[in-house]
Point group: C2
Amino acid sequence: MATSSHDIEEGLALLPKFDADGLVTAVATDVVSGDVLMVAHMNAEALAKTIETGEAWYFSRSRKKLWKKGEESGHVQRVSELRVDCDQDAVWIKVEQLGPGACHTGRRSCFYRAAPLGQKAAVSLTFSDAEKTFDPGAVYRGKV
Amino acid sequence: MATSSHDIEEGLALLPKFDADGLVTAVATDVVSGDVLMVAHMNAEALAKTIETGEAWYFSRSRKKLWKKGEESGHVQRVSELRVDCDQDAVWIKVEQLGPGACHTGRRSCFYRAAPLGQKAAVSLTFSDAEKTFDPGAVYRGKV
């Protein structure tokens, strides 16, 4: 039997709607500050491992591989809650971010630049919470 | 000249990295509670309109059209801050959610179900913050 949108939206079965590449969007927020730390993707295996282990696993689209957050940097994300959205094509994880940050550029969050609102012309960003909290060259051994 | 990853990650030019469908991922969080309200997508026009107007515009992948959040329901999202991530393929908007909720199912947030952690077998979700805050049938005039 086909799964109805009612099953997906109102049911209690986990029925992830993976896209053509087999991925759902994953948003990680800091369980303390509420800040969005990063937006990434999970395939079925990454989602299953995240649920099973309580630590965040993702699928890297650029490297085409399963990836445990912090496997190289040590900046593991401990998941305190995992939620799915109405159509089950996105997951939200609230995490305790171990170490100084989530972003490969050396910041706590990947979202360290803001766009001004109310402008029609070309937009210049401004740095916001952009101070580096670690040296990515040292942490990732020159891979960044 | 090609845009370098350094320009994209460390520069102050808005250089969105749209995917093959011309979209970036957009995460809307409640500016007060910090909760993730919804995950959707923006094309170039939706992003420009969001920046220009300070209200959230998206691109609907299912309906293949530009869409102002709340155009039908009145549940407009006033954007208090818009940020881009390191590789500029995702935006995070902090919004004041007007009206009772963001989700087409009648809830405040689209993320009203949680998955238990530490389980290896088939996962059953639990409702969490799932009380309906409005009647979608009335608000969307039977389109849901």
